[in-house]
Amino acid sequence: MNDAEGRRAASLEAVSVSKGFGGVQAVSGASLTAFPGEVHALVGENGAGKSTLIKLIGGRLRADSGIIRYQGAAAALKTPDAAHRQGCWTVFQELTLLPAMSVAENLLLRREPRDVFGLTSSRRLRQAAEVVFARFGIRDIDPGALVEDLPLADRQVIEIVRALSHDPDILLLDEPTSALMARETAWLFGEVRRLRDAGRTVIFTSHRWHEISAIADRITVFRGGRDVGSFTTLDEDEAVTLMTGQRVEALYPPRPPAPAPAAALAVADLAGGRLAAASFTLNRGEILGIGGLAGHGHRELFLMLFGAMPRKAGQIRRDGQEIRPRSPRQAIRAGIALVPEDRKTEGLLLPLSVGDNLTLAVLGRESRLGILRRRRLRTLAAAMAARLKVRMPDITSPVGALSGGNQQKILLGRWLLADCAVFLFYDVTRGVDVATKHEIYELMTALARDGRAILYYSSDAEELAHLAHRVLVLREGRIAAELAASGLNAERIVAAAMHEQAAP
């Protein structure tokens, strides 16, 4: 904190703002002060209240108590419209584009170019949209396309351009980069800097520390629904400590001891989709990393092992027995579990309770003559939730109400209860906050120590370098390199993924 800045006129102030949903207090007494010409990052674990605060400031939600001021005047925020009128525009985490409408219609919604009769036309819309796109250097999105036909990254860009095109005094961006590629992120940061240099205020959130350190002038850390400090400089370890409220010695736990060669899973010449041929052995107690650039067969490898995609060729042996999983059900019966990246669409039943979701895979085992042993199921679920440190109001709350990292833990807990021996982790830490990442790393290493076999793909090479015993790098559907733990680092993995000769 800096007294000289405190005396400058704030462009945005939130004072002791609170918002609850049912019994859960999402934001409680949070405050935020931002200044003109400032890029202000909000960091915190998932569920710390950042997104809710942004919705309150952007007029999407109404605060139960507290005051929000724009340019020193109390803002009456009944609707996003009211915020817009006062120069505050928000790119929410959940996109607000209309899927069945064209890009141009979305971009110019409610300010369509109109003729004397008050009517618009697709030609006028397209022309106006092209002007807007040209202003922000967008050339590869067709204004006539339907939004639903566009990839997520393009939709995110449109959403950002729409907010930018209103020349906002205050721009709020809630995890704008999670759907963007490097090139688009660079474009966004260029626009953000331009706004800052023009004396505007930009608030943004991200889980990627390098982005925050690259662009933020000030960082406010959130924990448990309120702000715990505002800083102009902060390093990652300090941030993690503040976000979790406990001292974190190191983000990555020590690698588990090297396993003895005892194959839990042996794969020979597995092929299908983009995967041309893969052969490897995964030992008990081993974390076998899978690296490489996206689109080189990783997804296919994981899906085929989990029985979610038909194999074209190849053999899978589980503890020496050949298996042919044709469905996830069969894979699970063979003791193979998948923990995917996208928690909401794969595996969890969001309206059901934590307990129900945890015990879903063992209902058959834990019933007698077709009747569930409810008390035992509840005990099992409670024990597992405690072991995984799931943060939740209680075991009967719906899974949909939990943060992403906690949802992931519940999926993991389900497979642990089902006593699976082989775990397929597919980019599980993507979009997950740093504190939860840390917990996932600890869980993963604990599983390995416990003698379970782990196949681990991550789009973050740093993680593989710190956790895996070996890393197999996939390129063009084949294993291009096998890297041992000694001397392993992220650069070598990336190099192996890109160049033929990189692997020694």
Partner: protein, 329 residues
């Protein structure tokens, strides 16, 4: 940023107006089928009488379909359309009078009454946050009951001049009304409120965070539906030349059929009023085709149902195919 190859305006247009394109094709095919059958059985082609009577007979349904579209676009459903048509039909048979002035005044008041009833539906749906099916099912019964009270027995009279104006049997003047309806849609689609209707049906939360008021939008949708349904009742009365407070009942269902055939999505946000109007004409053509094909009348509803299922499955399947293509492109 790189510029990937753009798809043509035509391709985009086709993608967004797929439903309209399909119903146009369906109408073309059914008209040709009807013409062919007619030629085969009658030894001549359909002429002025056939054209005019098909047009006149379809007018009430075309209007009912357009009315239904207003509400379906917002992801609702208006089951009360039949009741409003009943009421409008009954009122027209009783109060049109004989002078031009009385006819104009009564017509305007009847349309106003339809709009008010639609507004009531809209208020219950938008403010009461009640499911549209439930609200309009209840108001359907109420409106039907009112209609029966107003005109307990079929009767009354619609002056000849009124009939000649709306559904002239001598010449296809009703074509003018069809064009007017299409123009109405084209204007609506390009206006603020039309865009709001589509936006609310597409994604209510997203529309609302873009500053579109879903409550106002729904009120307008149901009010327009009531107004247009009342117009359908006027045409129905004009066509019959007398009133019957039960003849509108069927339009609740057939308006939904017209909407579905017209490529308007029952899940809201997609579709065109023009599609629903063309959908109404397709249903008339189906009746004509089955007539001249001399299908055993006992199997007629079977064939009608089968035709409908095939049409919808075809439309849905083609839609999915195009979507997949686009996703791959």
């Amino acid at each position: 940023m790189m510029a990937p190859p753009r798809r043509s305006t035509l391709a985009h247009g086709l993608a967004r107006h797929l439903g309209l394109a399909l119903v146009s094709a369906l109408l073309a095919v059914s008209v040709i089928g009807y013409g062919g059958l007619y030629l085969a059985t009658q030894g001549r082609l359909p002429g002025g009488f056939e054209f005019t009577s098909s047009l006149n007979n379809t007018m009430p349904l075309a209007l009912a379909g357009l009315a239904q579209t207003m509400v379906v676009l917002t992801r609702g459903l208006d089951l009360s359309i039949g009741g409003i048509i009943d009421l409008s039909d009954a009122l027209a048979a009783l109060y049109l009078g004989t002078t031009a002035a009385s006819m104009a005044l009564a017509s305007a008041l009847i349309l106003l009454a339809g709009a008010v009833l639609g507004f009531v539906n809209g208020a219950l749906v938008a403010y009461g946050r009640l499911p549209p099916i439930l609200v309009t099912l209840a108001t359907l019964a109420i409106f039907q009951g009112l209609a029966i009270r107003i005109l307990p027995q079929p009767g009354g009279a619609v002056p000849e001049g009124y009939t000649a104006l709306l559904v002239n049997t001598g010449a296809p003047y009703a074509l003018f009304y069809v064009l007017a309806m299409m123009l109405f849609w084209a204007v609506l689609r390009r206006s603020r409120i039309g865009i709001a209707l589509l936006a609310v049906g597409d994604d209510e939360a997203a529309a609302s965070s873009n500053g579109i008021d879903p409550v106002v939008t729904k009120l307008v949708a149901y009010t327009l539906s009531g107004l247009i349904a009342a117009a359908a009742g006027l045409f129905l009365a004009a066509q019959a030349t007398a009133g019957d407070a039960t003849t509108g009942n069927g339009y609740t269902l057939t308006s939904i059929v017209a909407v579905v055939l017209g490529g308007v999505s029952l899940f809201g946000g997609r579709g065109s009023g023009i599609g629903a109007i063309l959908g109404a004409f397709v249903t008339t053509m189906i009746v004509n085709i089955l007539f001249f094909a001399h299908i055993d009348p006992l199997y007629q509803s079977f064939y009608e149902g089968a035709f409908l299922v095939i049409a919808v499955v075809l439309a849905e399947g083609l839609g999915r195919l195009v979507r997949k293509r686009r996703a791959r492109a």
